[in-house]
């Protein structure tokens, strides 16, 4: 199978997957206990007006009509209005998603820089105490719940030492006029450092272990012996030749990690008061705000699916030996 055919087949699978996710989401939200109209309307509201409001949001329509409407919304990327704020869901996503992306990408970059480096070092020092220390560190990182680490960090560095802010993305005194001015300010970096570090701490374990294992495998291959026979330094063998070849699965895993990371920020965003899409998604579910909850879920699921798709294509581009039969 050619690369083009492979890409087309994967595209078809991608569309089917998103359709299946959307259908499951639609069914799931309607099977959930709880009536969204309770949050829409006042307890003491006149029944006629309550009904008018319900009709306005199409909640009285038969399920199949609601389903068709929902699918049209997804195809047209018009996800409706929030029950809660009456804001278009697109706007809600536009408000919160950039905040999450900045946090997650910062954390992932940190996690992969340190994780990959430590992975190489661990493989390089195989059998030594240094390797054991790094492997234990990776396991600890993956084992400690990120919200718990976040609370400990807040308690020590925020409440006790008062060197990091306890909540939010900016200080009250710092009111940037634009998003760009905000993210380029020292105040923003000061707020970013703690949640990004906690997330990076959690995310670092996976690339560390993956890199170590790949390195150990690559180090057994013949070309490593050739490199050494050429008289290259051990550092150059490790970082320039072995690491480069071992990096392939880590890169593709990184692409998938980006997808998961967008949705994996819920707890950290809550602990650190970070106004991201994860925190908003939880609030939307609690409020039975179907449009926002569905919209954010679809976004997060699509991100994972797209990043998987992207990783597959990336893999074929990075490693020409990969075949598609």
């Amino acid at each position: 199978m050619s690369k083009v055919n492979y890409a087309l087949r994967r595209t078809g699978q991608l569309v089917l997957t998103i359709w299946a996710i959307a259908t499951m989401l639609f069914a799931m939200f309607r099977m959930m206990p709880g009536d969204p109209t309770v949050f829409l309307v006042d307890e003491q509201m006149d029944p006629d007006q309550r009904q008018a409001l319900i009709e306005q949001y199409g909640l009285d329509a038969p399920l199949h009509e609601q389903y068709i409407e929902f699918m049209i919304q997804i195809v047209t990327l018009d996800l409706g209005l929030s029950f809660h704020s009456r804001r278009p869901v697109r706007d809600v996503i536009a408000i919160y998603l950039p905040n999450t992306l900045i946090l997650m990408l910062t954390a992932l970059v940190l996690a992969y820089i340190f994780g990959v480096t430590f992975g190489v070092i661990a493989a390089w020092a195989r059998g030594s105490g240094r390797e054991k220390l790094l492997v234990v560190l990776a396991l600890v990182q993956r084992s400690f719940p990120s919200f718990w680490v976040g609370l400990v960090v807040l308690w020590i560095f925020g409440a006790y030492m008062d060197v990091i802010p306890m909540s939010g993305m900016t200080s009250r005194e710092h009111r940037p006029e634009s998003f760009f001015m905000m993210i380029t300010s020292i105040d923003f970096l000061w707020h970013l450092i703690a949640p990004a570090s906690v997330l990076a701490f959690y995310s670092m374990g996976y690339p560390l272990l993956l890199m170590r294992n790949n390195m150990l495998e690559v180090l057994t291959e013949d070309f490593i012996d050739v490199c050494r026979a050429k008289g290259l330094s051990e550092r150059k063998v490790m970082f320039k030749h072995a690491a480069r070849n071992a990096l392939l699965p880590v890169v593709t895993a990184g692409a998938v990690a980006v997808g998961y990371a967008v949705g994996g920020s819920v707890l950290i965003e809550t602990v650190f008061g970070w106004p991201g899409i994860g925190r908003e998604m939880v609030n939307a579910v609690l409020r039975r705000d179907y449009p926002v909850a569905q919209g954010t879920f679809i976004l997060l699921a699509s991100t994972v699916v797209f990043m998987n798709f992207f990783a597959d294509l990336l893999y074929s581009w990075l490693d020409p030996r990969v075949t598609y039969d």
Binding site: D35, Q44, D46, R86, G168, E280, N283
Partner: protein, 563 residues
Amino acid sequence: MGNGNTQLDRRSFLKRTSAAAGAASIAATAGCLGGENGGDSDIDYDDEEDAGEPFPEYTFYNNPQDYNPQRHDLINLIAEQWQEVGFDVEVEVLEWATLLSRVSDEYEFDFAAWSQYQSPDPAENVADRWSPEHAEEPGRGNYNQYQNDRVGELIDEQLAAEEMEGRVDAFHEIQDILAEDAPFSPVCYETQLIPYRTDELDGWVEHPAGPDRIHQYANVEPMDQNEDGYLRGFWTEALENLNSWSHEGLSKHLHIQDAIQLRVAQVDADLELDPEHGLAQDIERPDETTIRFEIRDDVEWSDGEPLTPDDVAFTYNTIAEQEPSTYTTVSNYVEGASVDGDWVEVDLSQEIGRAALLLIGYEVYVAAEHVWEGTDPVQDELVEEPVCSGPMEVDYWDVGQGIELETRDDHPIDLAVDGLFWEIIPESSTIWSYTEDGTINYHPFAQPGLELQDGEEEIDDFEVFEAPGDGWTHLNINTTSEGLDEVAVRQALVHALPKEAASEQLFYGYMPVAHSYVAPAFGPLHREHEDLPFTGEGTIAAAASHLQENGYVVTEDGVYYSE
């Protein structure tokens, strides 16, 4: 604390319930209420041969434990008390929205319990809850399905009464009837609490409309430590729309509106017209279906346009024509409005007496005609930059992070504080750290609990301002369920309510026990019922005895109708 077999303090209750962390421990705890103090042994059981049909099983709907742990424990405690008496009561957990829908929309329940508020006046609430016709149509508010024609007459009387005295008489009789018939029972009044830093703020005042309203903003003064002169608080989730036409169900939204928009008529702590803090300087009643407001002429909108009587008339006419959901009650009563010089005349659809000041005047925020003209429906607009009539205006608003209001220098209502700021802080320990270091200086919507009590003890220069509450935690009884349709049975159930222990358990000693439908915050409208023979002392034996006196049979196996 109560007496007899209700000797249970909060800490020991919590210790016991949290130690086992489950229904079994709750049952054990509730059992102690009877057992230790002779609850069961005090019951003088009837002979089983006198027993007729048994009472049916009852379901007590409740939230999941994680929604409100204290209330969860309390409801299990109440259910156990009733089981001690001999009723077969099962507690069933429902997600909150389902619970609310099941009870208030569908009227499908035996028992339920939650909190409710009546701000700023019980007139609207009493009409919704107890009108006999509302019992027949699910969703209208009378979910206890309580039918009493005399209460229906009194509701109309209090609405039409021109003088306070008439309202007082009607309200007292309503409360007497409700207390006697026991379709529900208030457990404890929910005191209004404002925890604040005493080195930064002073001057809190009592008002039945609650904290964080214009009366607080107008009276609270920043102290020496408060360098920016701000009220600095927090909220746990984002505020997402500043539309004054659509604030239903969003208390934080309502409170922000109260700072940035003027109500047509403001009321003081005695529920009289308050010309100092409101838009209406005077009020007239030419007849029972007309109310006239004299509009002050010294207010400008924050965009520089003058606020005129035309704006007020436009607001009422829009309410009458579009019936936005926030103004449901007002639109039921208002036909339309017109301008007569400085006066706005509102035509009403039915006779309304003194309550019109609250139902028609206080309920409504005046809207700017030059901003809203031609908008239909007004309630669907997303408002990010509101044009303000109130003493504060929006200085900064980030949906995800917080809101900051700045006091307007040119506004006729003078505020001592320079502004208000709320940060979104979802994590509670962060709130207390911020309180301790002075980042925030008050808690706008304090929930009483262990954190509040401990915070008060641990943080220097920190106090809790308490004012009478306008609501209560209440137990609801469906008066159409078999057995519960009989007054003596409901009275016995109330008899067995451990209200003292419940108040301690739920609100950590901050809330007094409640006996009346109208909370003490409403002054003369409130009536205590401490002399009732079934005040809710949690006395199991007395509850059983009450049943026996009224012809029911109480055996060791349960409660029965007589042969």
